[in-house]
């Protein structure tokens, strides 16, 4: 089976560098693309392109056409927390939320996150504990093409997969920002989230590539 080619964007932030260049994550990335090199990069060489948490949306916006073309060519674009895809892609709703860094100090406290669909393959890699650290916002209103994978107990979407809007490619977006905290050497749950999310992305992409190859075989 063809292993997907994974590229990740380095915006030059210290936490990008620490997350991308060091283990345990470095082994997941085949290519590192510096943000300002994207316009002269042939993205079609990649199957997955990850926009690392807090990459400046002001500088992603002029690249929106190129990023949409990447998805329409079959690629998976992953917009991580605080990249604000609603600001540079159409039809994404977003409502910011006040971040509470201290909710867990209360005995028995629960941030209230859950995996939206226990039958979804992502749940073989991620549990609610892995995504539970804090909230920055929710995708609201949620577009019908956005299948929620992580949400709050009130149904506020924190991570979605969209396999329709940019078919045959896909968009995965989350409001959670694990690369930032992992790369700043803070908050162990964020490391666990990435150690689950990255294998899920690669596994699901492997399946997508295989099924496209099967479709392409003449009857």
């Amino acid at each position: 089976m063809t292993r997907p080619v994974v590229a990740i964007v380095d915006g030059g932030q210290h936490y990008h560098h620490a997350a991308i260049a060091r283990e345990p994550l470095a082994r997941f990335f085949d290519h590192v693309v510096y943000l300002r090199d994207i316009p002269r990069t042939d993205l079609s060489a990649f199957d997955i392109l990850i926009l690392t948490c807090r990459t400046n949306a002001y500088y992603l916006a002029p690249l929106a056409g190129q990023l949409q073309a990447f998805m329409r060519g079959g690629g998976t674009l992953v917009a991580m927390g605080e990249t604000f895809p609603h600001a540079w892609l159409p039809d994404i709703g977003f409502r910011p939320m006040q971040t509470d860094f201290w909710w867990w100090l209360e005995p028995g406290a629960d941030l209230g996150l859950r995996m939206s669909d226990p039958a979804h393959p992502i749940c073989r890699h991620l549990t609610r504990d892995d995504v539970t650290f804090h909230l920055h916002g929710a995708f609201e209103p949620l577009h019908p093409n956005h299948k929620p994978l992580v949400e709050t107990k009130d149904g506020e979407c924190q991570l979605f997969e969209d396999v329709t809007s940019y078919a045959p490619g896909r968009l995965v977006a989350t409001t959670l920002d694990p690369f930032f905290h992992h790369g700043a050497f803070f908050m162990p749950a964020t490391t666990r989230m990435l150690l689950g999310m990255l294998p899920w992305l690669i596994e699901s992409e492997t399946g997508r590539i295989a099924s496209r190859a099967a479709d392409a075989v003449p009857a």
């Binding site: 030059g12 210290h14 500088y59 860094f101 201290w102 700043a184 803070f186």
Partner: protein
């Protein structure tokens, strides 16, 4: 009070930290990072680099930063140094994770910027240690270390008066405009105000007409 003029270098979508608008008596020019190449920095008492700056870009414009410092400027560096963009900077060294008790901050040298705020206060932010600093951007030999952390007393905050002019104040943690405000503006604003008041009052720029 000396009125200061500062350049705030942002590399994030949205508004700058709300604290910026609450600091009194100074002017802050807020620019997204890639705009700063074309600005004349010589008017600024200090250039404040937010924690999310693109350090690859800073490496590219290092000659501009050094020329500004040579002329008496001040650079406030927040966060971890991943790509040493000046000869005075060395790569951030995280502390091994050894437990909360070892995240205690220590005041190594008193400094007017931190008058009235104790290292104990900074250690715990609403009861939680670690926000302020968990490792070190190792300082140049002879730098004034203001705060250290952990049993090895590695430098979290340091101030370096460059022999060739200008100074660098480095804070290896969540950025000052955010971390000092975590317990609310009543505690955070006076601390921030003192930092910028001091930077303005001791400005190394040639004297200019009062605004």
């Amino acid at each position: 009070m000396t009125r200061g003029k500062f350049l705030f270098v942002q590399n994030a979508w949205g508004d700058p930290p709300p604290a910026l608008a609450m600091i009194r008596g100074h002017r802050f020019d807020v620019f997204q990072q890639y705009e700063i190449d074309r600005l004349d920095w010589s008017e600024y008492d200090a250039v404040y680099l937010s924690m999310s700056v693109d350090q690859i870009h800073l490496v590219e414009i290092a000659p501009k930063i050094e020329a500004y410092l040579d002329g008496g400027g001040a650079l406030v560096v927040n966060g971890h140094v991943a790509r040493p963009f000046l000869p005075e900077l060395r790569r951030y060294e995280p502390m091994p994770r050894r437990g909360l008790a070892e995240l205690r901050l220590r005041r190594e040298n008193e400094h007017p910027m931190f008058e009235g705020v104790s290292a104990e206060t900074l250690t715990l932010r609403r009861g939680v240690a670690g926000f302020y600093g968990r490792g070190s951007n190792p300082p140049p030999e002879g730098a004034l270390v203001i705060h250290s952390v952990g049993p090895d007393r590695v430098a979290v905050d340091w101030l370096w008066e460059r022999p060739g002019g200008g100074r660098i104040f480095a804070h290896a943690g969540v950025e000052l405009l955010a971390v000092l405000m975590l317990e609310g503006p009543e505690q955070g604003l006076p601390a921030l105000q003192r930092i910028f008041d001091w930077l303005a009052a001791t400005s190394g720029l040639p004297a200019r007409e009062a605004a």
